[in-house]
């Protein structure tokens, strides 16, 4: 069966290649000026099943960017959207289809880091540039020189928020608190600890909690008795909000610096006033005073009836980065697109100024936010 599929895929791709070669021959060698660069870009996202919310935001963001790019006329992009259902094997099949039969010039996606771990090597081996917009795990772009991402990992976001908080409040002594039975909160804690040591902060205590705990008073009483200047807390927002509330109630009023898990309007909804003084870093801030952001938010809201989230914004910028690189490459060629993408520096998108580093990973300044008066605001 597997072999049959491969054989069919092989035949199909040969046929396509022939058709393409034919088309290539028929086309005049030099492209007349003013003619847009035509490119077929594949998208792999979770369209159905659990996690479909992410896929929806991502494809919405990409489609919005495509319409804008095509209207400008320098580049004409045709999207091929495939569903991965959050499954590795389905994501791989989708990638093979896009690479071999659809002959896309590049791929945006897949949604999860897990999926990227199987799709990335395939695209890399086929020489197809691939860009993850939500894959934040470690080692993603190290898969190979065709693999990119524009999703900021926590290992960049947390040092930014801690750095700013330390400077502003002159923090010397800190207490760390984290959920020790969750991979995500644990890795956030590792980054917090590393950053604290780098900044030579005095770590007074490290406290842990477990999922589903409803009473954090023992840990918080201990933290409060040591009188830290700030608490660095790696938690998901459900637990984080309860922790904040109980901490404020027992009179622990120092600033809290949280990881990406804390970065949700839900924190304010659950913890109310107790959320004041929470500091987080985020790649996306929808209320930024930037005409580009305002236009994007307004357009997105008009088209889809809701505000864009981080995933929509990252996907939107990803297609723009691709379009920009295609324009520079001058032709829809995988190799030239890769080089142009890798050379992306200081691209101004809705996320802010964005560059790829030598390893095709994200270089950008995250926005640091603080909760004041029940709202996330820019922290300066």
């Amino acid at each position: 069966m597997e072999r049959n599929v491969r054989a069919v895929a092989g035949v199909v791709s040969v046929l396509f290649a022939l058709v393409f070669l034919g088309a290539e021959k028929a086309r005049p060698a030099a492209k007349p000026k003013g003619e847009p660069v035509r490119a077929k870009i594949g998208v792999i996202a979770i369209v159905t099943g659990p996690g479909a919310g992410y896929g929806e935001a991502i494809t919405n963001g990409i489609k919005l960017a495509r319409d804008e790019v095509n209207a400008k006329g320098d580049v004409f992009i045709e999207l091929k959207i495939e569903d991965s259902s959050a499954k590795q094997e389905q994501a791989l099949a989708a990638a093979q289809k896009l690479i071999n039969s659809e002959q896309v010039v590049a791929i945006i996606g897949p949604t999860l880091s897990n999926e990227m771990r199987v799709v990335g090597p395939e695209a890399n081996a086929s020489g197809v540039p691939i860009m993850g917009t939500s894959t934040t795990a470690k080692g993603i772009t190290q898969i190979g020189k065709y693999v990119f991402r524009n999703a900021m990992p926590e290992s960049q976001a947390i040092p930014a928020s801690i750095g700013k908080a330390v400077k502003k409040y002159n923090i010397r002594k800190v207490a760390l608190l984290y959920g020790n039975d969750d991979v995500f909160t644990k890795s956030g804690f590792d980054t917090m600890k590393e950053t604290s040591e780098k900044l030579k902060l005095d770590i007074l205590t490290v406290q842990e909690f477990q999922k589903g705990q409803s009473d954090y008073k023992a840990q918080l009483t201990k933290i409060a008795s040591l009188k830290p200047d700030a608490v660095f807390c790696s938690a998901l927002y459900e637990e984080g909000a309860v922790i904040l509330s109980q901490a404020r109630k027992m009179g622990l009023s120092v600033p809290f610096v949280g990881g990406n898990g804390f970065n949700s309007p839900k924190v304010v909804e659950i913890a109310k006033d107790a959320a004041d003084g929470l500091i987080v870093a985020t790649p996306w801030y929808g209320d930024r005073n930037d005409p580009k952001v305002k236009a994007f938010v307004a357009k997105y809201e008009k088209t889809y009836g809701k505000k864009p989230d981080q995933f929509a914004a990252q996907a939107y910028d990803a297609l723009y980065t691709m379009a920009e690189a295609l324009k520079k490459a001058g032709t829809a060629d995988r190799e030239r697109l890769r080089d142009a993408l890798a050379a992306t520096r200081d691209f101004h998108g809705v996320l802010g100024k964005f560059s790829f580093d030598a390893e095709r990973d994200v270089v950008m300044e995250p926005t640091v936010l603080i909760v004041r008066g029940g709202k996330f605001q820019i922290f300066n």
Binding site: E208, G212, S214, D215, K217, A218, Q219, K222, K249, K272
Partner: protein
Amino acid sequence: MFLEQLINGVTLGSIYAIVALGYTLVFGVLDIINMAHGEIFMFGAFVGMLLVSKAGAPLPVAFLGAIVVTGAMGLLLERFALRPLRARPGASHLASLISTIGVSILLENVAHQIFGAGNHLFETPFAEIRFQVGSVTVYLVQLVILLISLALMAGLSLWLSRTRSGKALRATAENLETAGLLGVDTNRMITATVVIASAMGGVAGVLVGMAFNYINNQIGLSMGLKGLAIIIFGGMGSVYGAMAGGLILGLSETFVVAYGSSGYRDAIAFVTIIVILLIKPQGLFGQTLPEARR
């Protein structure tokens, strides 16, 4: 810090104790472990939350509402999940355990449907009342929780040992058939027991909401497991055992965090239980069961 942690531990322990009392009462009479008790307790918390935070009702109304709803749930539980099994000769001892597990899963999912998965704020001005003793801040809620748990324990043990209906209950617990022959309405006694135990769960639910400010549909599971561990530890069916066990677990959990490592909180607390059980297998206040009970 010691005093503050002591208060934290006693508060947590008192809540554990009230949950455990509900288990122990049903076990003492019916010889079954009511796995749905944790979820009934969770519903009590939600009813209290709806009355206090959403409807703005005063606290006594919240307690009353929680008691009524959870009591009714106990009635239904007994009528539909326990009695049909009791009426069947030859039904396995484990059948009722399984049926209460079924009820607990059902209730958890119903709560998920109605209330969603997230945390709900339990907001009451009463929870803000505090006073200063030396350098220690004490919340009135913490005192109230301790008092309610002590009162429930004393009330239960008085009822069981001194009153006529308590005597009937103990007779039912001793031997269902003989008690029936002696004129005790055993079905009524059992129903009453399950209803009272469930209502106590409801009270505990409201107290948890007041103490921790937040409730979600998972608290039944975590509190329920602790309650189960406590009745085994304190001695199956013993009222004092439930109280002592609850306080010991609450205090040890708190002090492990205060003077040890918070990562081992549950591990150390439960290792303590295992060690005590190895020394005293029938639990702290447990007696070897009379042969007639088996």
